[in-house]
């Protein structure tokens, strides 16, 4: 891969290594059908990749939306970048969300805008002038190896390409946190690998803090067992020296397991072993 990369992400303003960048404390959330999250607590530290595992309907996507302030908890506290976001007003949250990249499960690209306009959206909203937007968009699209699609509409792209554009859109303003909602769901293994490689590059090149919701264990282990070598521009076996990948298994709306990939593999718990089969 010979793609140039955008500059480093802006550092989180009030978070240092070891300090939680995102912290959930006894978070409850429910709808008409009943409670989904029932006292969920976890924390993601700076530079860390947290893999949220769980069956369908256990609240993985809800957790990501809570972390981005797109939903409010019924009870409990959600902190991100040192700010209590569960009590912020919608206007304050709109400002806060500019520091977060969110990759939606199906991409959620604006279908009436071209790929380039989708990627440029955030910059245009921030009032950037046209001359500075175009090179930034090209740079980010080059990073996801889709520079040639800038003038295409999302409907003209394959599912995998749409996810990559979604990643490009999420990182265009270099957010310190990126949230991935099942980024490989419904994709073939080769395209899934491309997406995971992109997430690895973001982590290892920029030190982005990430939470990835998925039900594919192999994606989590790929993040834990591989790293992106910036010098050779290739993905290599072995964890990056400064990248930490942890697993969080959700069950019945709360944390069922939290630990390293090795701890998950060694676990004798029957429910966890069903994930490993």
């Amino acid at each position: 891969m010979a793609a140039s990369v955008p500059g480093p992400p802006a550092a989180p303003p009030q978070s240092a290594n070891g300090t939680p960048v995102i912290a959930f404390d006894n978070v409850w959330l429910g709808f008409d059908e009943g409670p989904i999250l029932q006292g969920l607590s976890f924390a993601a530290r700076r530079g860390e990749t947290l893999v949220l595992l769980g069956e369908t309907g256990t609240g993985k996507t809800l957790s990501l939306k809570l972390a981005a302030g797109l939903l409010r908890p019924d009870r409990g506290s959600v902190q991100a970048l040192g700010q209590e976001i569960s009590s912020k007003s919608e206007d304050e949250l709109l400002q806060f969300r500019r520091q977060i990249g969110f990759v939606f499960q199906e991409g959620a690209l604006f279908d009436s805008l071209t790929v380039g306009e989708n990627v440029a959206y955030r910059l245009v909203e921030d009032g950037a002038d046209e001359q500075s937007v175009e090179p930034q968009v090209r740079e980010v699209l080059r990073f996801v190896e889709l520079e040639h699609t800038a003038n295409m509409l999302p409907s003209e792209l394959s599912g995998g390409m749409r996810r990559r554009v979604s990643i490009a859109r999420a990182l265009v303003n270099r957010p310190p946190i990126v949230l991935y909602d099942s980024p490989t769901a419904g994709l073939d293994p080769i395209t899934s690998q491309t997406i995971i490689t992109l997430i690895l590059r973001l982590r290892d090149v920029y030190g982005v803090t990430a939470i990835m919701a998925t039900h594919r264990l192999q994606d989590g282990f790929a993040l834990a067992n591989f790293h992106f070598d910036s010098k050779t521009r290739t993905v290599r076996r072995g964890a990056a020296s400064d990248a930490v990948t942890r697993f969080l298994v959700l069950r019945d709306g709360h944390t069922y397991f939290e630990g390293s990939p090795e701890e998950l593999l060694k676990s004798s718990d029957k429910y966890l072993q069903r994930f490993l089969i």
Partner: protein, 278 residues
């Protein structure tokens, strides 16, 4: 029975069905909640117009869609409504030898009532459904959430431009519709009632008072607000995927049309009351 993964566990006891009072309470609560949500959306759509950021390009795009896009149907229907009005009323006036009054009655009916109402209903049919389906599709494909995730307020980006565009274009469409309706009435009266075009126009203009124009203008503004906000509300509250989008589209047309007719009744009563007072 063997304990297989496919075995469905039956609950020990089925929950008691809700009583009639409980069901009615739930329905009433939902209705009040919907009215509250709609009122909040209406308030935000207007308050957004007085603060930044404003989306001028989106407003112009919507004006093009709502205004220019609706022009052909408004012109066509306006012409024939005017003509039909003359044919219907003219035949009655002919019995009393008062054919010249046709211009008066067509003019008053079009300016006060038919112009704003027919235009409102036509634009509601065309645009409220379009707004609901567009926003509904964005909602089910998480584009609205994506917008929020990128720090954009959907009420500013999606609702206010549509409401403002409707508030500007629907009164203009109504004006055009009334004029074309009078042209249609004139054509029908010349060829069917043998009334001179000059007499028709003179009577049609002379009968109008300022309060009549204000009545028509106020109605068109209110109808524009109703059709745009109902379309936005139905679109942004879609539940249930593509089927939900279809439901929202139908609901948008039905609700906005009914609200337009109901509002018309109250506005007419209010206008007549004010005309007597002032």
């Amino acid at each position: 029975m063997s304990d297989t993964p496919l075995q469905v566990t039956q609950p020990d006891s089925t929950p008691a069905p809700p009583s009639v009072v409980e069901v009615l309470t739930e329905v009433a609560k939902n209705a009040v909640l919907k009215v509250q949500d709609y009122a909040e959306l209406c308030g935000r759509s207007l308050s957004n117009l007085f603060s930044k950021p404003r989306y001028h390009q989106d407003t112009l795009d919507q004006m093009d869609d709502i205004g220019v896009g609706s022009l052909p149907i408004v012109l066509l229907s306006g012409f024939f409504i005017g003509a039909v009005m003359v044919l219907q009323t003219g035949s009655q006036f002919q019995r009393f030898g008062q054919v010249s009054l046709t211009g008066d009655i067509v003019s008053l009916a079009l300016v006060r009532e038919l112009g704003p109402t027919i235009t409102g209903l036509l634009v509601a049919g065309r645009c409220a459904s379009g707004i609901a389906s567009e926003l509904g599709s964005m909602q089910v494909t998480e584009q609205v959430d994506a917008m929020r995730a990128m720090g954009t307020d959907p009420s500013r980006k999606l609702i206010s431009p549509r409401v403002l565009a409707a508030l500007i274009t629907v009164p203009l469409l109504t004006t055009i519709s009334v004029f074309i309706g009078l042209v249609g009435g004139m054509v029908a009266s010349v060829f069917s009632l043998r009334l001179s075009a000059t007499t028709f126009w003179q009577r049609a203009i002379a009968i109008l008072e300022f309060s009549d124009l204000m009545q028509g203008f106020t109605k068109s503004l209110v109808f524009a607000f109703i059709l745009s906000t109902v379309g936005c509300y139905q679109g942004l509250n879609v539940r249930g995927g593509t089927q939900g989008v279809g439901r929202a589209t139908t609901q948008a047309v039905v609700v906005s049309s009914v609200l337009i007719i109901v509002a018309d009744t109250f506005l007419t009563k209010l206008a007549l009351y004010l005309a007597d007072k002032l």
